[in-house]
């Protein structure tokens, strides 16, 4: 030891060693001071929050770096501590000049390495302590500061299925009145591999979402010069200012909804692993379409938002959505569960050469809550169509849906599910109004392999059930929709809201139909009924009154089938087949533009039935006795409410014409015409 001291004192390095010694002593002293004042940090936090802040170890690294290890911030209200944030390493750089000259401790750099956040606990903490947190940050010895959060990990422990993380990096620079920052966010999900499910691997989903911003502080607020949000399928640029509690915002957004996120393994730290991951990612995303093929354009954003925490008032949020102007107003309440009360309107007359061309206005009102990833509420959706339509456009005037107990769930995103406790659908055309009530409606949307989204849905329809599958193509706006729907066990008389005539049809109806909205909108399908009854059905009632056939007022039938179609040219029933013991009807009935009818029907009436009326006695005398039923083929045309009819050529008609003189034909013709004219006059 003596030798060493002698050597040191003799050598020319004495000042250096003295300096090193001082540094060593200073470091040790600072370390001792820091370890003693660990509790002070906790005490400082205690002043603002009820949660517990603890620091396991702290070091001082000369000349101006403090490292804190294993910092934990946890909730401890029920005896079981729940960790909100855990930071393995926090490095704090302070200004040595300020300390030496002004004797003031001011932080210049804050770096968090790989902090862990419990998303649910953090959200709860922010909801409960937002004001305190702002006060705490204000009291921190910050001047010009750089904040870096690297490799932060958010986990929602409440989510049991497919647990996943959100990784985020954040960098903030505050110098004088200028603020700038950038960062990125990406998602991952644990996927289990292996036959025996032995290996759980964290898979990154899609590319990171990057952001950067620049702002400068102004008197009483902040001016946001530029905020950019970037991803392979998204670009958003916003600017504006905040004054007191009011945020004014302008900007635009481009989105490509066709882009599909692909999963790839999180790269290890080795270069080879990173390269492999990069190649995998490139291969898996080679078929994607990037931002140049954006299909959603949100332009001319002009908004005014008022923060009256915990409430946010959207005083005005106007923008054009794919050239359709949209206005949103309402309130959002950031309490334990987020409450929303908004109304949105869109004027759509600018859509040209699309199937939505005749859409004039769309309105949505919604009042509800957002709890975790579920939007619940009641509301109303209205579509108004232009009165003056182009030829070939659907004859719709209005479509509205009044829904209650809606639950829109994003828990399994990208699978989206929706439930509606009750939905009243109303659709009105130039001439009619159609209503239908759905209960316990559910729908699930699955992302498809290509640009299609698959949707499965079902509901109770009165006493029956409805189930269906649909495909939505988002490559165009409005989206192309095609769907297949099946209805079972529905009492047809309950459908009087759709067509008044259904109120006179009794029996269980089952149907399958197909709906397509592009290139032309149509609904086609078939319906069938077994063992039903027609009571005072308009057509049979008319025949009954005209020819004194009372049995036609109540017709029990064994089966009734028909195909139906509704498209821009009109509505129609084809392959009508009604079979009853005494009556039969087959043929088609089409209703076109301006309620113009085009129909050919064959009516079969049994000899027994015709015997009821004395008017048919001469007719029955003329035809052969072995014929059990008579078939009348006739054609209908003209306006629905003033139909023309013609008795078409048939063996029966020829037989009759052969057996009666022309003047009788003329007399019968005149009598029928007189009856029709008398109905007209009434």
């Amino acid at each position: 030891m003596n030798l060493l001291l002698r050597y040191l004192s003799k050598s020319g390095l004495r000042p250096f060693w003295i300096f090193l010694l001082i540094i060593l002593i200073f470091t040790c002293a600072a370390d001792i001071f820091l370890s003693l004042s660990k509790n002070r940090v906790s005490d400082l936090a205690d002043r603002y929050f009820s949660q517990k802040l603890s620091v396991q170890r702290s070091f001082f690294v000369p000349p101006n770096l403090i490292i804190l290890k294993n910092i934990s911030f946890s909730q401890d209200d029920s005896g079981q501590p729940r960790q909100i944030i855990f930071v393995p390493t926090l490095s704090i750089k302070f200004s040595l000049i300020d300390l030496l000259i002004s004797r003031q401790f001011s932080i210049s750099d804050l770096e968090f390495y790989r902090p862990d956040f419990d998303y649910y606990e953090l959200k709860r903490f922010l909801n409960e302590n937002f004001i305190q947190l702002v006060d705490f940050i204000k009291d921190l010895p910050l001047k010009d500061v750089r904040l870096k959060i690297k490799g932060s990990r958010f986990k929602n422990l409440k989510q049991q299925q497919n647990p996943g993380f959100v990784y985020a990096d954040f960098f903030l620079k505050l110098k004088d009145e200028f603020i700038s920052g950038w960062g990125s966010v990406r998602r991952s999900r644990d996927t289990i591999f292996g036959k025996n499910k032995e290996e759980a691997v964290s898979m990154l989903i899609g590319p990171a979402t990057r952001f950067r911003f620049k702002a400068f502080l102004t008197y009483g607020g902040c001016s946001l010069e530029n905020f950019e949000l970037m991803r392979e399928n998204l670009y958003a640029k916003l600017w504006g200012n905040i004054k007191s509690s009011v945020l004014r915002l302008n900007g635009f957004v481009f989105i490509n909804t066709l882009y599909k996120d692909s999963s790839y393994r999180q790269p290890d730290f080795s270069l080879i692993e990173k390269l492999n991951a990069f190649i995998q990612r490139m291969e898996s995303t080679s078929d994607i379409v990037g931002l140049p093929k954006a299909n959603i354009f949100i332009l001319d954003i002009d908004g005014q938002l008022n923060f009256k925490l915990p409430q946010l008032s959207i005083e005005r949020l106007n923008f054009s959505f794919n050239n359709a102007p949209v206005c949103i107003k309402g309130d959002i309440n950031f309490s334990d569960t987020i409450g929303i009360n908004i109304s949105a309107s869109s004027f759509m007359t600018r859509f040209k050469d699309t199937s939505a061309e005749s859409l004039r206005r769309a309105d949505l009102t919604l009042a509800g809550t957002i709890d975790e990833k579920t939007l619940r509420g009641d509301g109303m959706l209205d579509f108004d169509f232009v009165a003056k339509k182009k030829k070939g456009s659907p004859p719709l005037d209005k479509f509205s849906m009044d829904f209650k107990k809606m639950a829109l769930n994003f828990e399994q995103f990208p699978v989206i599910s929706m439930e509606l406790g009750e939905a009243d659908l109303l659709c009105s055309t130039d001439t009619n109004t159609y209503r239908i009530n759905l209960k316990d409606f559910w729908a699930e949307s699955f992302p498809g392999k290509s640009k299609f989204n698959k949707v499965e849905f079902g509901s109770k329809v009165y006493d029956g059930t409805m189930k269906g599958k649909g495909w939505i193509d988002w490559s165009k706006f409005p989206p192309k929709i095609s769907a297949v729907i099946r209805v079972k066990g529905l009492s047809s008389s309950r459908l009087e809201g759709i067509l008044m005539h259904f109120s006179k049809v009794f029996g269980k109806l089952s149907s399958q139909m197909c709906f397509v909205n592009y290139p032309d909108m149509y609904l086609r399908g078939s319906a069938a009924m077994q063992k039903g009854r027609l009571v005072n059905f308009e057509f049979f009632k008319w025949l009954s009154d005209l020819f004194a056939l009372p049995s036609l007022k109540k017709v029990d039938f064994n089966k009734a089938r028909f195909n139906f179609s509704v498209d821009s040219r009109g509505a129609g029933l084809s392959k009508i087949d009604l079979t009853a013991p005494e009556v039969g009807v087959d043929g088609y009935f089409n209703l076109g533009e301006n309620d113009m009818v085009s129909s050919k029907l064959t009516l079969t009436l049994s000899r027994e039935l015709l015997k009821e009326s004395s008017k048919f006695t001469p007719l029955l005398r003329l035809i052969e006795k072995d014929i059990e039923s008579l078939r009348f083929n006739f054609q209908l045309s003209g306006n629905l409410h003033r139909m023309n009819f013609q008795w078409l050529k048939s063996d029966l008609k020829s037989q009759l014409q052969d057996s009666m003189p022309h003047f009788i034909e003329w007399q019968i013709e005149k009598k029928v015409q007189d009856i029709i004219d008398s109905i007209e006059v009434k």
Partner: protein, 174 residues
């Protein structure tokens, strides 16, 4: 006495004026028909025009309006023809030749490219008469105008056919 003489003279003037007026209207109409018989359509129109100007309340006005419209249509004066037919349809809904006035308006709308109006007129024409065809294939109606043109319509189950002096004038399918 003076008052009585004054009243009688005034009544005579009024009666004479009215009689003269009516005689003019009747004459105008007769002369128009006569001119049409002689195939002098322009002359016929002069009488019709004189009638329309001078006889606002005449019971023959509906026929004259139709004939004037018919003449204007033939001379391609569609605007005036449309005015005549619209006045006819508005003021004389039970006029015997109303259906033919509608078809003239239909043709005018067609030539003017007014498709929306044409569609409305088509609906009017198609629903004008409700027909039942038991043993016949069509129902026929005929109207002879003051210009002595024979207008015929045939209602089939899926179309209406119009003929003017035996020649096809319009066919409206539905």
């Amino acid at each position: 006495m003076k008052t009585r003489i004054f009243t009688v003279v005034l009544m005579c003037i009024l009666v004479l004026f009215e009689t003269g007026f009516c005689q003019d209207c009747g004459t105008d109409y007769k002369m128009a028909v006569q001119a049409a018989k002689n195939k002098e359509m322009d002359l016929s129109y002069l009488y019709l025009d004189s009638f329309l100007t001078g006889c606002p309340g005449s019971r023959l006005r509906d026929r004259v309006l139709f004939a004037a419209g018919e003449y204007n249509f033939e001379t391609n004066n569609f605007r005036q023809a449309a005015t005549n037919f619209v006045e006819l349809i508005d003021n004389y809904p039970d006029f015997k030749g109303k259906l033919f006035a509608l078809v003239y308006l239909y043709k005018i709308a067609e030539s003017a490219g007014q498709h929306e109006l044409q569609e409305k007129l088509k609906t009017e024409i198609v629903t004008f008469k409700r027909v039942s065809l038991l043993f016949r294939n069509s129902q026929k109606y005929v109207y002879k105008s003051p210009l002595l043109k024979r207008h015929k319509v045939e209602y089939y189950i899926d179309r209406v056919e119009f003929y003017l002096d035996g020649e096809s004038f319009a066919q409206i399918p539905f």
